[in-house]
C-alpha cells in the first residue's frame, strides 16, 4: 500500500454509511497514523542490508491502540553479518517497546535471512516460521525501516514463486497453495496453542473466525479473479492486489465478477469484530473467559452472532465464486 487506505469509494459503491463501517475506517486511520510516525522516527534505526516490517493488524491497516506489533526483520547476509542483523533487530524491538508498543518475541523473535525464506520452499528445511514470514510479508507487510530494501525483499518473495521453472503453473499455483497452506497451518495451530500451550482461547477463536478467515477468503477471491485474466496480465494483477487490505482485495476481485454487493455483509460483520478488538475491556474479558463459561458471557454471544453473520457473508462470496470462476475454485482452491 502506498499511503492511507481509502475505503470511502468502496463504501459509497456498497451504499454503506460511515457509521456502519466506523471501526473499519478508524482502524485504517489508526494504522496509517502509526506507520507514518514510526517511519519518521525510525528512519536510521536499522543498518543497510536489513528491512523491518510491521505484520499483523498494523500491516493489514486494522490496528488500534490495543494492538500489539508483529515486528519482522529480514536481512541479506551478503550485505550484513547475521550477528549484526540480530543485534539491530533487538535494538529496534527495544526502541519500539520504549515507544509503547507491545512487541512480542514469538514467531518473529529474531532477524531472518532472506535466503532462508526463498531457498527451500516446501522442502525439509522450510519451517512453519518461514511459511509465516512469506505469507505475511506478501499480504500484510508494511515497511517500518529501509523502504528500499523492504521493496526488494517483497519482490524477491513474489519472484520466488513467479520464476518457478516447473512448479509455478499458469495461475501461479505454487503461491496460492502456499497461502492456503499457511491458513490451514494457523487453523491447526489454534488447537495446539489452546489445548496444549495454555493460551487464551476466545480472542484466538474470534480472530480465526474473522481476520484469518477474511484473509483466506480474499486470497481465494483474488486467485479466482486472476484465473480469468489474460495470461500476461495475471502476475501483475496478483502482485498489485496481494499487499492490499483483505476487504479491498476481496472487493477488487468481486467487482469485475459482478459480486461487489456481497462485500457489504462482510464489512458490516467485520466492523463489529474490529470494534471489540479495539476495546481494551473487551479484550481483557475475552482473555479471562473460561471455555465452559462462554454461554453466560454477553460479549461472547454477541461476537459469536457476528461471526455467524460473517460466515453467511463469506459463504455468499464463495457461492458467487462458484458461479463465476468455478473451474479455478474447484481445481485449485479445493482439489
Amino acid at each position: 500500500m502506498r499511503g492511507p487506505v481509502d475505503y470511502a469509494p468502496l463504501f459509497a459503491e456498497l451504499g454503506l454509511t460511515a457509521d456502519e463501517a466506523a471501526n473499519v475506517l478508524a482502524a485504517a486511520a489508526d494504522a496509517h497514523a502509526r506507520l507514518v510516525a514510526l517511519r519518521a522516527g525510525l528512519a536510521d534505526a536499522l543498518p543497510p542490508g536489513c528491512a523491518a516490517f510491521a505484520l499483523g493488524s498494523l500491516g493489514r491497516y486494522e490496528s488500534s491502540a490495543a494492538s500489539d506489533l508483529d515486528l519482522a526483520v529480514v536481512y541479506q547476509p551478503d550485505r550484513i553479518d547475521p550477528a549484526a542483523a540480530q543485534q539491530a533487530r533487538q535494538r529496534l524491538a527495544a526502541d519500539l517497546r520504549a515507544r509503547g508498543y507491545d512487541v512480542a518475541d514469538k514467531t518473529f523473535h529474531s532477524a531472518v535471512a532472506l535466503g532462508a525464506l526463498l531457498g527451500d520452499i516446501g522442502g525439509r528445511n522450510d519451517t512453519n516460521d518461514h511459511l509465516t514470514y512469506r505469507a505475511l510479508l506478501l499480504t500484510e507487510g508494511a515497511w517500518l525501516c529501509n523502504a528500499d530494501q523492504a521493496a526488494a525483499v517483497v519482490e524477491s518473495l513474489f519472484g520466488a514463486y513467479a520464476r518457478g521453472a516447473i512448479t509455478r503453473g499458469r495461475y501461479l499455483t505454487s503461491l496460492s497453495n502456499d497461502l492456503q497452506r499457511y491458513y490451514r497451518t494457523i487453523c491447526v495451530d489454534y488447537r495446539f496453542k489452546v489445548e496444549s500451550a495454555g493460551k487464551h482461547w476466545a480472542i484466538r477463536y474470534f480472530k480465526l473466525r474473522h481476520s484469518r478467515k477474511l484473509w483466506h477468503l480474499a486470497n481465494l477471491a483474488v486467485f479466482c479473479r486472476a484465473a480469468l485474466l489474460p495470461d500476461d496480465e495475471r502476475d501483475g494483477w496478483l502482485a498489485e492486489q496481494l499487499p492490499r487490505p483483505p476487504l479491498l482485495r476481496t472487493a477488487d476481485a468481486l467487482r469485475p465478477l459482478g459480486g461487489l454487493g456481497l462485500c457489504a455483509g462482510l464489512v458490516r460483520a467485520y466492523d463489529g469484530f474490529l470494534a471489540a478488538l479495539a476495546d481494551p475491556q473487551a479484550r481483557r474479558a475475552l482473555d479471562q473467559l473460561g471455555y465452559d463459561d462462554r454461554e453466560a458471557s454477553p460479549l461472547f454471544r454477541r461476537l459469536r452472532d457476528g461471526a455467524e453473520r460473517f460466515d453467511a457473508a463469506a459463504t455468499a462470496v464463495v457461492g458467487h465464486l462458484w458461479d463465476t470462476s468455478r473451474d479455478h475454485l474447484v481445481r485449485y482452491g479445493m482439489l
Binding site: R2, G3, L35, V36, W143, D148, A152, E155, D235
Partner: protein, 173 residues
C-alpha cells in the same frame, strides 16, 4: 538500421523502480491536489507539507541497491541512462547525492523541473527528443501505455518479475 548500445537511452522511473518510498507513505494526510501541483513545479515544498515531514521523507528516501546494480550493469554495456520521474524538484538532489558515481546517470527528467508530468504527452515528447531509442522502465501501467503511444519502448517493472532479464531482453542483450 542497427542501433549501438549508446543509441539507447534507458529511462528509469524513481519511486517503485529505482527508489523508495512514496511521499504518501510519510504524509500524515496526503493531499493529492497539492501533489498534482508540486510534481509540475507549481508549488514549493514548504507549501506542500510541514518541515518535519519533509525531513522525515528525506531521511527515508533511498535508492535501491539491487536496482543501482542493474543501472551500473547497463552503463557498463554502453547504454545511456536517464531518470524519468514524477518527482518534486526539491527531492531530486537527495536522490542525486546517493548515486555512487554521478556519471551513472546521463540525463534527469524530473517533472518538477520540467513543468510537465507523466503521462502528459509533453513529457514523452521531451524524453523522445533525448535519444534515437528510448526504453522507459516504469511500474505504472498508465505510463507504459502513454509512452508506447508516443513511440517509446517501455518495460514494466512488475513486482516479482525478473526486471534485469526482462530489460536485457528488451534491449536485445
Amino acid at each position: 538500421m542497427t542501433l549501438a548500445p549508446s543509441d539507447t537511452l534507458v529511462a528509469f522511473d524513481l519511486i517503485g523502480v529505482l527508489a523508495e518510498p512514496s511521499w504518501r507513505e510519510l504524509a500524515p494526510t496526503p493531499d493529492l491536489a497539492r501533489w498534482r501541483r508540486l510534481k509540475v513545479g507549481a508549488l514549493e515544498e514548504p507549501d506542500f507539507w510541514d518541515s518535519s515531514t519533509a525531513a522525515a521523507y528525506r531521511a527515508c528516501l533511498r535508492l535501491r541497491p539491487d536496482r543501482l546494480a542493474l543501472v551500473a550493469h547497463l552503463r557498463a554495456r554502453g547504454h545511456r541512462i536517464a531518470v524519468a520521474s514524477n518527482f518534486a524538484r526539491a527531492w531530486a538532489p537527495v536522490v542525486r547525492a546517493q548515486l555512487p558515481d554521478p556519471a551513472l546517470v546521463d540525463r534527469w527528467f524530473i517533472s518538477g523541473e520540467l513543468g510537465v508530468a507523466k503521462p502528459d504527452p509533453g513529457f514523452w515528447q521531451i524524453l523522445r527528443a533525448a535519444a534515437a531509442d528510448v526504453v522507459l522502465v516504469d511500474d505504472q501501467r498508465e505510463n507504459l501505455a502513454g509512452a508506447r503511444a508516443a513511440g517509446l519502448r517501455a518495460v514494466w517493472a512488475l513486482p516479482g518479475a525478473d526486471l534485469p532479464a526482462r530489460l536485457l531482453a528488451a534491449l536485445g542483450a
